[in-house]
Structure formats: C-alpha cells, structure tokens
Amino acid sequence: MSTINQAIWSHCLDYLNDDDRIDDEAFVTWIQPLGAKLTDNCLLLLAPNSVVFEKIKNNFFEHLLEAVQHVVGENNPPPEVRLQVETSSPMVQQDSLQHEESKRELPWTASLRKYHTRLNAQLTFENFVAGQSSQLAYAAAEQVAENPDRVYNPLVIYGDVGLGKTHLMQAAGNMILKRNPDAFILYLHSERFVANMVKALQNNKMEEFKNFYRSADVILVDDIQFFSGKERSQEEFFHTFNALLDSQRQVILTADRYPKELIGLEERLKSRFAWGLTVGVEPPELETRVAILMNKAKQSNFVLSEEVAFFIAQRIHSNVRELEGALKRVLANAHFTGQAITLGFAKEALKDLLALQAKLVNVENIQQAVARYYKISLVDLLSKKRTRSFALPRQIAMTLAKELTNKSLPEIGYLFGKRDHSTVLHACRKIKKRLSEDFSLKEDYTYLLKILST
C-alpha cells in the first residue's frame, strides 16, 4: 500500500471545501476543526469533542471517505480512515465517560478498503438456504472461504439469474473478511471492471489500474459473461487473473452459463477458468423454496406457516429474487394491517403479483371476459342484434368498460360496433339501476369486476 504523504489531509480539506454539498458554515464548524494524524496505512481523524465527532460520523463521514479516495486516486489501494475523539482534548478529559469511549475501538470506524470492496455484509452463508440444487456450490464456496487459495482456485459458480450465485460469492468474501479483517477483498461486477479500465485508458492511468486490481487478496467478479466481445478488457482481465493466481490469491467468478459455453470469450480465458472448480446452481426445488421463505420471514421477525410458504413457493418457481419480492409484500401487508398471515391473507396480498399474465384492463379484455362468461361469441357481443341474450352482456361489458378503463364514452361506443356515446350512457344507467334490484345480475357483475380487476 502506498504511503500517505503529509499533504493528503490539506488536499482533502481543499476538496471538501469545494464540495457543493457542504456549505461554508458546516465546513468551518465541523470539518476544519478536525485534526489529522498520518501514518503509513491509516489516516486518523481527531474530533475535538464528542459533538463534532457525532456530527462528522452521522453527516460527513461518507464525504470524508470520498475526499480521501479522490485525493489518493480511484485506482490506488485505499488507506484506512478512522475517526475518534481527541483524547488530549480538555473537554473530553472533563467527561470520563466520553474519555472511556474514546479509548475503545469504535465499532463503526470504517476502513476505506472495506468501503471500496462493495461487499454486501448481509450476504452470508448463515442466511443462504441451500437445497439440493445449490448444495455443491454452497459447500465449494464455504470451503474456499475457509481455505482461500488452498482448495479451488478459481471457483466459478454458474447458473441462471436470481438463483443465488452472487449471494454465495459474497458470502465467501464476507467469511474471509471476518476471519481476516485486514484482507483486501474486492467485489465487483465485470461491467465495472470494463468501465474502470476505459476510464484508466482515457486518463492514461493503466499502471494504477493494474496495480489496484493486482493488489487484491481476494477478487470476486460477478457475471463474467459481460466480458463477452470486449477483447481489450478480456486481455487485461486475463493478465490480472494470471497475476492473482500466480501470487496465490483467491479468485471467485460467476457466470450465467457453464464457462465453456460462454460466447464471445477467448478460449484461453475459458481454459483458465476450468483450472479450479466449476459448480452450477439450479433453480431451487419446492421444499427449498419453502425453506427460503420461512427463513427470510424469520429474519424479519415474522412467523410464516408452512401452508402459506407452500402457497407462495408453488406459484413462484423461477427465481429466488421473485420469491423474496412476494414474501416482502406479504410481510409489508401484515405489518401495515396488523393482521395474522393466513392463507387467505397471503392470497389477497399477492393477488396482482400472482396473476401470471397480469395485464392492464382494456376494452378488448372486458369484451372477451364477458363473452366467455355469458357463453356468447365476441361477434354477437359486438353485433347490432338486440335480443336479450346479447343485449344484456353487451350493456354489462359497456358498464365495465366505463368503470375500469379511461376510455371516453364515444371511444367505448366505437369499440362496441361503432355505437353512439348515448348508447353507452344509456347502457350504464340501465345496468346501474338494475344492479340495485336484481341480485343475480349483481352477482354476475361483481364476479366479472373481480376477475377483470385482479
């Protein structure tokens, strides 16, 4: 890691002073009083008192990190930034509690390295539900995390979208980080690698770019299929990949298909990927989906019955993201209404999400639904025939069209066999009147309204 030179803090101050998001008053009041101690790997920022400390922590710490990153250069390995209350400050010494606190390692003190890794701390092995479909990938990722560069290098996880490839990859990264907090674990999407390379080329900073990626202890690259067709990026990634493997750093990759089947990727790259272990992730089977739902609900402090979990899992089988989306919806509904999550409740909460072919209601849909319900042809529904068996469904369909669509009356009339708007108005009035008198008609109407609007 490069040594932080003494000018870094003054450059940071200049950067922050120019930052439009921080007004002059805030800069003078909160940022300028900070002291800075510079060591090889750490920039220690010292707040004169706990008020400044809290303010910086809550409002400006991200800006500080950004400023440091800016000054150091985006492609340089980032230093650690720490903030604490200055222990020699008289105000702190007066307050023994605060003094004690300042001596402790502050739990939120962030390392810019960690900030830079973009690892999502929520994605761990503990909250990954492995079924038969992902058992092998889970075991492989866990082993890699326990013994980086000892067992499988590179580890390639492939599978369809939304099946947990990124989760497993990041879980491995998080576990490595937990065991070795100083490790530089770099997670990135392949598109980001490409974008950063383009930027480095434009700014003539390729050396910095190379050094940055090659300094990682573990590199996690998501969706390598995005390298497809980008020859220059592949070339650079190839060399980075080799350099990391040669220096015994762990590489984990994900792809949407078996690496050999990736189109537009150089053969030598594909062949390198096959050096380690390639494992697939399949769509989770029903029982796993149920377990995923129950697990996720538990994490949100809700109890989900098996019956409800099965109901959701049976209807959403394509990918886990959708499954989680459905669950979130049920939980949000339960949270807002305070009701228990029963089967009926879940059905109601998910009604529009589960309508597989959920489409917006339009006049054509209404006509088809009404014709089907009354067992008449669409031609008859739209015809000029005025017999009761056709006229009533037609009037109901017109009323529904007025109720459920934004079409104007002349437009509705036109779509019903080029009729006049007054015919539509007459139909709507007539149906409205009959609905209050005729119970069976009301039942028909309510049913149609329900199937069309859910």
């Binding site: 950004e66 369809d160 939304g162 989306g325 917006l360 079409k407 104007s408």
Partner: protein, 239 residues
C-alpha cells in the same frame, strides 16, 4: 385592433398551476391501500427498501407517487434525483453510474418501459440498480407493465426488476375519478359541484390526465373571468 383589445382587457393570471407539486396525501388511495401505506412509511424514512417497482396504466398515478416520494424525502433533507426517461432520452442523458455520485440516496426513474429492448440502456439501468442497492440506497422505477411482462434483452436486469417491492398502481374507479377532479379543484380553491364533475366525466375525455388538464384550464378561465365553474361555463371553456 389595439383599441378593441383595450376595450376588452383580458385579465392575466399567475400560473398557479405550477404550484401543484404532487403530494402523497393528495393521492386517491382507491384499490392501492397497501401501496399507499408502504410509500407513506417509506417516504418518512420509517421503512427501508432498496428497490421499488411501480407499474400501472397511463393515468393511474404512478408518476404522482414517484414524484411525491421524491418531494417528501427531499424535504426531509435526503439528496434525491428524479429522472423521467422519455425526456432524458431526448437530451441524450445517460443512466451511467458516473452521473449519480454517492450523494443521491434516492433515485427515481420514471417510465423505464421506454428503454427496455435497447441493450445498452438496459445495461445502464442494470448498473444503476447494482450501484444504488450496493450502496444501501434506494431505486424506485415506474413502468407501464409488470416486470414479468417487460421484454428485456438483459435477463440479469429482468430478474432484478422482479425483486424488491412490486406494486401495481390500480387505476381510479368511476366514482373515484369524480372525487379526484373535485379534489384537484379544491386545491385551486374552487368548488366543483357533483353535477359539474359528473358533466365533465360524461361529456369529455375521461382519462385522468385529460381530466386534470381540464380542471387546470377551467381554473385559469375562472380566474380570468371571475366566474364560478358551472355547466355553461364548462361548455364554453373546456378543452
């Protein structure tokens, strides 16, 4: 000509229509109770969700909801960004990560259906999704159809759009439309009687956007002529 103009001076009005920024409280809930409750909490920063997808027909109010979330959180001091896609496309604006520095904690992208099918745009939206959700911020998008129905070229994008909180914004029912236009009129300080509202609904385009434009127009005319809105007045001035 000049003399005629002087003889019948035309009252100039302030453009008060501009004052009507969408507010969540003004949204007629109808069949959207869960959605409303959720956005109400979300926009007060009481619940966190990295990704929200709102879809519905034109005129259902999805842009209203998006803008009101943007407005509320901006007022609470959170840096937010609103991005209407159809307009930005004309300006060749991109969804690239570099356009969204770290400070934006809420990014609202309106009408994503306009870019679906164009691979380069889909990739940008995908990158934006990754970027925003990785930072622990929130991305809200709106579209005219459900994510399952989007004809995405980039399946990685589609799977992500299918995650998070997905809500259909249900269109207003007939009776609610009447309430909606009366509420709009009230915001202008106008009293729109049931009779006049019903007249508007049965004699003019019933699309909510058209109806709201109608109210805006009638409001301006009413200010100019200093007359209340009656059926004859509507007949004279409605678009």
């Amino acid at each position: 000509m000049i003399i005629n103009k002087l003889r019948s001076p035309r009252q100039l009005t302030f453009n008060l229509g501009q004052l009507l920024t969408p507010k969540l409280e003004q949204f007629l809930v109808g069949d959207n109770l869960l959605l409303y409750n959720f956005l109400d909490k979300f926009s007060q920063h009481l619940v966190y969700e990295p990704f929200i997808y709102l879809w519905g027909a034109s005129g259902s109010g999805r842009t209203h909801l998006l803008q009101s979330c943007y407005d509320r959180l901006t007022r609470l001091g959170y840096p937010c960004y609103y991005f209407p896609l159809e307009k930005q496309l004309n300006f060749n604006f991109t969804l690239d990560e570099k356009d969204f520095p770290n400070q934006y904690q809420l990014i609202c992208v309106d009408n994503i259906e306009h870019i679906i099918g164009a691979l380069s745009w889909e990739k940008r939206l995908f990158n934006l999704y990754q970027y925003v959700t990785n930072l622990g911020y929130t991305l809200i998008v709106t579209a005219s159809c459900s994510p399952r129905q989007l004809d995405c070229k980039l399946l990685d994008l589609k799977s992500r759009l299918c995650s998070g909180m997905i809500f259909q914004v249900h269109t207003l029912r007939e009776s609610e439309k009447q309430k909606a236009i009366q509420q709009r009129a009230t915001l202008y300080g106008l009293d729109l009687t049931d009779q006049v509202a019903h007249f508007l609904l049965t004699h003019y385009p019933r699309h909510p956007n058209d109806l709201f434009k109608q109210i805006d127009q009638l409001h301006q005319a009413s200010l100019r002529e200093k007359r209340p809105i009656t059926i004859p007045f509507v007949k004279k001035h409605a678009i």
